[in-house]
């Protein structure tokens, strides 16, 4: 029992840290923000799923993917297809030349629902697809690359290309995908209006809940033998291979898991924001996700969540006030993090804790044992 508890939460410190995050997300923010801002936070949290996947893939398995937006997009599109079909019932689309199909299909002279859209009439299928479709794509790509020992920069470039390909493919097939505009005008989920503020509250808390679940699940994976294997692989890949492990399959698995997390994030994004478009799939968002993870600390699960929230809040505030400056600030931030704090926020917190805890200890011992004429304590940082 105790062992399971330790594996899930990483001991007492882990529980406290996760508790603080959950309290911030589920109590502090909902009480202090209006629904518009809270919905924005909810949107950022969907990116945190991708950042979480990147911590596992990049931070732990040492494989940098610059195409995680693809999986976010795939999950999002799966969800959007379901919602779009529900929004396109024959009555509300009766002015179309073919009622009952999504509006953009009608505009593109398509008269019948394409076969690959059919299964998305079912919610259970859609929910499954949100996780499975990104995983399958990641599996195929992962097996093709990792079995051939493609890694490092080459892997990053190929995933980057994948992001470009998918966004162009969606863009270029307007009749089937909604093209550049994406899939818009999503209204209800099984008749439940997802645009009402009541629904937005509920979706926000669902997102928080799933995020905490994802963190706990990742923590569980990392705390066992798999986590040690990933660490060992980053250290001495050959040694792992010659200890009888199929190294590539460990990478494929991590890639798939990260993809599945991203897919869930994408689906939650669509539910909260009400649309999806190829601009959320391509190169720029994929790289932004990497920045979120890097700022938070690429080896820290919780750091990735804080990093995502912080960068996006900065993005919102900055771009509301100085729209032209935002991209420069973002670029500068990334360079600063890489050069100065390779372990991001989590690294800084760790550093402060290391500096402060002996200082605090000093303080405690010197206050319990007051000595006359003691030398003044050096005060490095504010505690």
């Amino acid at each position: 029992m105790k062992a399971i508890y330790n594996r899930l939460f990483g001991g007492t410190t882990g529980v406290v840290q996760l508790g603080i995050l959950a309290a911030i997300l589920m109590i502090v923010l909902p009480l202090s923000l209006d629904i518009f801002r809270l919905n924005l936070v909810g949107k950022y949290l969907t990116y945190a799923f991708v950042a979480l996947g990147l911590v596992l893939l990049w931070g732990k398995a040492g494989v940098l993917s610059l195409g995680q937006g693809v999986f976010f997009g795939l999950g999002g599109y799966c969800m959007a297809m379901f919602l779009k079909l529900e929004a396109s019932d024959p009555i509300s689309t009766k002015i179309q030349s073919t009622p009952g199909i999504p509006d953009f299909m009608d505009w593109n002279q398509i008269t019948q629902l394409p076969a690959f859209w059919m299964p998305f009439k079912s919610l259970p299928f859609t929910l499954l697809a949100v996780v499975v479709v990104p995983s399958i794509v990641a599996f195929v790509l992962g097996v093709a690359m990792f079995k051939r020992r493609v890694g490092g920069v080459y892997f990053a470039i190929i995933t980057q290309a994948l992001a470009l390909i998918l966004s162009l493919a969606i863009d270029g097939n307007q009749g089937y995908t909604g093209g550049r505009n994406g899939i818009t005008d999503l209204r209800t989920l099984l008749g439940w209006d997802i645009r009402s503020s009541h629904a937005q509250y509920l979706l926000y808390f669902t997102t928080c809940g799933l995020l905490v679940l994802a963190i706990v699940l990742s923590q569980w994976m990392l705390s066992g033998k798999l986590g040690k294997m990933l660490l060992a692989m980053r250290d001495r890949e050959d040694r792992v291979r010659f200890s009888g492990y199929d190294v590539s399959m460990f990478k494929v698995f991590t890639f798939c898991f990260a993809a599945a997390l991203s897919g869930v994030g994408g689906a939650l994004f669509v539910l909260q924001v009400g649309f999806i478009s190829p601009s959320l799939v391509g190169i720029v968002p994929s790289i932004e996700m990497v920045i979120f993870a890097a700022v938070g600390g690429r080896v820290s699960l919780l750091g990735a969540v804080y990093g995502t929230l912080l960068v996006n809040t900065g993005k919102s505030l900055f771009s509301e006030n100085f729209p032209q400056l935002w991209l420069f600030a973002m670029g500068g931030l990334f360079i600063a993090v890489v050069v100065l704090f390779p372990n991001g926020l989590a690294g800084v917190v760790e550093l402060i804790r290391k500096k402060v805890s002996p200082f605090l200890k000093n303080l405690r011992t010197s206050s319990t044992l007051p000595t006359s004429g003691s030398t003044p304590l050096p005060s490095p940082d504010k505690p």
Binding site: K225, M229, L231, A232, R241, M249
Partner: protein, 248 residues
Amino acid sequence: MNAKTDFLLYIEDLGVSFDGFKAVDGLNLYVERNELRVIIGPNGAGKTTVLDMICGKTQPTQGSIRFKDRELVGMAEHQIVRSGVGRKFQTPSIYENLTVFENLEVSYPKGRSVFGSLAFRTTPEVVERIHQVAEQIFLKEALDLEGAFLSHGQKQWLEIGMLLMQEPELLMLDEPVAGMSAPEREKTAELLNRIRKGRSIIIIEHDMEFVSRIADTVTVLHLGKILAEGSMQEIQHNPNVIEVYLGH
């Protein structure tokens, strides 16, 4: 041709060329069960390349390697390991960020698949086995130390220990005492003589004094070919070997 043999390892006509350079050429090597074979030879003779081919790191361009009557050529590295071949590298390859205990733990031959590793639990059996091996490799007191803090010699022992966890039938060690102090060599020889029971071992080594203390049979490689093979006595008096290797 395919007569059943008693040899554990049965290498015939093995060769590999890198861009036309024949690093190993038409090599025949037979290792019996429970034999301790030492391969010596000057630098560039192809010693490490032979081990690389046996464990699948390098694909041979010709020839066959049969282990327990199974062809190893073409098998993936992890499958070769799982069939019972353990390999220690020339520079100590251990996981610096894991403790000695964890280094041995991840080498335990269970939970090697992805899902197996998720379900893997460090049972009392595993712990007992780790303690047993740690005792053998003189690292019982260092179980909680991170790999990075071990001395060079201790790293070499730890890597041997990691192989022992897998209980391989064929153990291949590439220069196990390189960089070790005299007392450490002493202990390593003692260790090898203890762990050789029930398995075959191939060792590449330069230190002739060390070789003479452990070897059953010595194979001398030169320019990718076998120059001589026999007991230490025979090798030391072989004029060809003295000429190219022992000489001076």
